[in-house]
Amino acid sequence: MQLSERHQEYWRKNLRLTAVLLAIWFVVTFVMIYFAPQLNDIVIMGFPLAFYMAAQGSLIIYVLVIWFYAHRMNQLDLEFGVHEGDEE
């Protein structure tokens, strides 16, 4: 079965979204860890910044990243007509 131009565009958009979100994941995890000793000089509400990120901040960003991906992809499915039939 041949994929249409629109199908390919859907996949390209998916790849772009995935890449952007993975970049965010990479920055709040590995870049953050690499600079942890420097980041810790910043203190917010008693939390040294790197400690806060590793114990809470990055985790919140992970949850948001996954929420956004699910939300955006479910939207894209409808937009490009590749959504599943209503089983409800």
Partner: protein, 724 residues
């Protein structure tokens, strides 16, 4: 039930579980009232154990099924929210529930690698795997490898890798079940193992994935309540704020300030700490001299006299313990074990080395909780020993500190990466996303999974800091004559968790005189917060729920890999439904008994093995799974080479560097610890898939169509890969 729509099913589930949560809270309140009226702690333990296990068994019996799709994937109609809770319970093991806060207490910032690794992995699950596996829609992870790459070999390697990872992991869970049952009821550890096993089996045996799913939701609710209630209470006690995750910033500041005082010998507290540390330093030096003497004696062949002396000393200590006015059975048992362990010069040498290490550790300054990758303290030591050190000497010490920091940072990054990728490769987690009704729900379900996991993981660092604050401010400086009740209790019950000795004989507690075992933190929190015993019982029940739910998921993964992938797909594809289920259940029983037997032997390095499972899964599965979706060109030869290369490199690295297998740390590459062996296995796996694919022909049209099929939630004129 099949006529019911998905939304009716969802609202019905919500009603059931709301009712259930209320019931559980009422149950705890009734027990609290009974405790007031004089119910003994032991009976509270029994009631919790019996009530929760029969609850899980009840759900298991209600969900029993003879339908293949119900048995393997819960009928694929688990709503996203509930699949998220089930995944949370499946994921969080005894180690997360009981061990995590303790690890953070003991290691501070450097322990946060586990928090980051075990949550961030879900980003990879969500973005790279879950929706595609759901669309593929079969029963197991080797199923995907088998269909995507064709032939039996990729499937077989997948089965072997799935079994290796899951088996070490399930042994650790059953071990945890034994420990908690023993603690909750006072039964023997071995009896506890098999009692817990009954609880696991009655559930997964009758209803497979369907029963496991609904039990895991129930277990999640118990474990999260049991974790949160004591921490919230402790937070109110210490900070007046019921949201510990916000409040502990200020507490952390005070903890850090206190750590500076402990390390400053010009203050009263600091001077007392320094006097204890000096005693440990002497002990360390004396032990090191003994080690040298023993080594010389071993070379001369006269070591047996030294062993004899050591044994005579232990015998005298044992006699003293037995002659005490109130003999302590636990201490006598420990001493007897010490004597039986002393088999010869090698055992004595190992024991001395361990003693020297722990004395050395206690003689060092307090490490700063929030500081990442602290160096060796070489500069400080140099300036203390020699205030007039030359610039060259200072520069050299600085370089030493920097090298230590770099090494720790490298290991932290490597460990986080292995834990994350391992999370996205463990079959028992990925399998859960086969159970949602649609791709759309699979995506939402990963969100709910991480959300429910996040609730516990962002509380653990807060708990560690709150307990530290309590220890620094209420325990340190108090007099040995009037120790806080929880300290005295735990020191009497289990010296491996809480040991406190007046080393410098000043009658006051110094931080260096306290030895805390990691598991103590969660278990003792209710007592530190001044809550009644019923809450301690609830915490133990929560730990049990965490261990049981993970064990259930893992056992099912192993049994399914054997029955579905090996028996049905490779040996007898014509087997009837009844036969397939019978084989599956039989294997489940065999695997469970085998795992329980292994756990009852109390294998020592269980925690290392669990960590190793992540590295192994990451190396074996991740490259082949992800490239299988995102790179159409990946083919049979690539998958076989990639999975084998990943597994072999990872296992080889552990073999040469981990002492359990006879390796030595000197063999480490870039000073990376064996637990993070996956950082070498993963690249090897990716290279294997890429090279293997490029040197052989592109996969067939059918397989390329399969890739398109998994990439789009719905395609017109699409093939159908769903398993019946």
């Amino acid at each position: 039930m099949s006529t019911q729509t998905q939304s009716q099913f969802f609202s019905q589930l919500k009603k059931y579980y709301t009712f259930y949560t209320g019931g559980f809270i009422a149950f705890v309140i009734v027990l609290a009232i009974l405790e007031r009226m004089g119910l003994s702690n032991q009976w509270i333990g029994y009631i919790f154990l019996a009530a929760t296990i029969s609850l899980y068994a009840g759900i298991g019996i209600m969900s029993k099924t003879a339908d293949v799709s119900e048995y393997y994937v819960a009928g694929r109609r688990v709503p996203a929210l509930f699949n998220g809770m089930a995944t949370g319970a499946d994921w969080m093991s005894a180690a997360s529930f009981i061990g995590m806060a303790g690890t953070l207490y003991l290691t501070g910032f450097d322990g946060l690698a586990f928090i980051l690794g075990w949550t961030g992995g879900y980003v990879l699950v969500a973005l790279l795997l879950a929706p595609y596996l759901r669309k593929f829609g079969q029963f197991t992870i080797p199923d995907f490898l088998g269909s995507r790459y064709g032939g039996n070999l990729p499937r077989t390697i997948g089965v072997v890798a799935a079994i290796i990872c899951s088996f070490v992991y399930v042994v650790a869970q059953i071990y945890g079940v034994g420990l908690i049952t023993a603690r909750l009821t006072g039964l023997e550890f071995q009896v506890g193992v098999f009692a817990g096993l009954a609880g696991i089996l009655v559930c997964s045996f009758l209803g497979g994935m369907r029963a496991v799913t609904w039990t895991q939701v129930a277990q999640y609710i118990i474990l999260i309540l049991a974790y949160m209630i004591p921490v919230v209470w402790l937070s109110v006690n210490i900070t007046g704020n019921p949201i510990p995750q916000i409040a502990y910033g200020q507490v952390l500041e005070q903890v850090t300030a206190k750590e500076k005082v402990f390390n400053d010998p010009t203050t009263t507290l600091g001077a007392a700490e320094a006097s204890v540390r000096a005693i440990f330093k002497e002990k360390q030096l004396a032990t090191e001299d003994k080690i040298k003497a023993l080594e010389a004696a071993m070379a001369a062949g006269t070591a047996d006299t030294m062993v004899g002396e050591a044994r005579a000393k232990l015998d005298a200590e044992l006699a003293e313990l037995k002659a005490a006015p109130e003999p302590n059975a636990k201490k006598i048992e420990a001493k007897q074990k010490e004597i039986s362990d002393l088999t010869g010069p090698d055992a004595l040498l190992a024991k001395l080395k361990k003693a020297a290490d722990s004395a050395k550790k206690s003689s060092g300054p307090v490490s700063q909780h929030a500081t990442p990758f602290s160096g060796k303290g070489a500069v400080k030591k140099l300036l203390k020993d020699n205030p007039n050190a030359t610039e060259a000497e200072i520069a050299k010490a600085k370089a030493e500190d920097q090298a230590e920091t770099d090494k720790k940072r490298r290991n932290f990054i490597a460990l986080v990466l292995c834990l994350m990728v391992g999370t996205a490769s463990l079959p028992h987690i990925l399998m859960r996303y086969y159970t949602t009704p649609s791709v759309r729900d699979a995506r939402k379900s990963v969100f709910w999974s991480l959300f429910f996991i996040f609730l516990l993981y962002f509380t653990a660092p807060a708990l560690a800091v709150l307990v530290k604050f309590d220890v620094y401010n209420h325990l340190v400086g108090s007099s040995f004559a009037s120790l806080p009740a929880w300290v005295a209790n735990w020191a009497a019950v289990d010296p491996t968790l809480m040991k406190i000795v007046d080393i410098n004989k000043d009658g006051l507690v110094q931080l260096a005189e306290i030895t805390i075992g990691g598991d103590l933190i969660v278990l003792a929190t209710p007592e530190i917060a001044g809550l009644p015993y019923v809450i301690s019982g609830m915490v133990a029940a929560g730990g049990l729920a965490a261990a049981l739910s993970t064990a259930d998921g893992l056992l099912l993964t192993i049994a399914n890999a054997l029955s579905h992938d090996v028996y049905y797909k490779m040996i007898d594809p014509k087997a009837s439904t009844v036969r397939r289920l019978a084989i599956s259940k039989g294997l489940l029983l065999v695997v469970a008994l085998l795992a329980a037997y292994t756990a009852s032997l109390k294998p020592g390095d269980i925690l290392f093995l669990v960590g190793a499972a992540f590295s192994l899964a990451a190396s074996a599965f991740f490259p082949a799974l992800v490239l299988g979706v995102f790179w159409k060109r990946a083919n049979y030869l690539g998958a076989v080479l990639g999975m084998l290369a990943g597994l072999i490199v990872c296992m080889y690295y552990m073999y040469i560097t981990y002492e359990f297998f006879g390796g030595v740390a000197a063999n480490e590459w870039f000073n990376i610890k064996p637990i993070a062996a996956g950082v070498f296995g993963m690249p090897a796996g990716f290279l294997g898939v890429i090279i293997g694919s490029l040197i052989s022909r592109a996969p067939s049209i059918e397989i390329q169509q399969l890739v398109d099929h998994v990439r789009y939630p719905n395609l017109e004129g699409d093939i159908d890969t769903r398993a019946a």
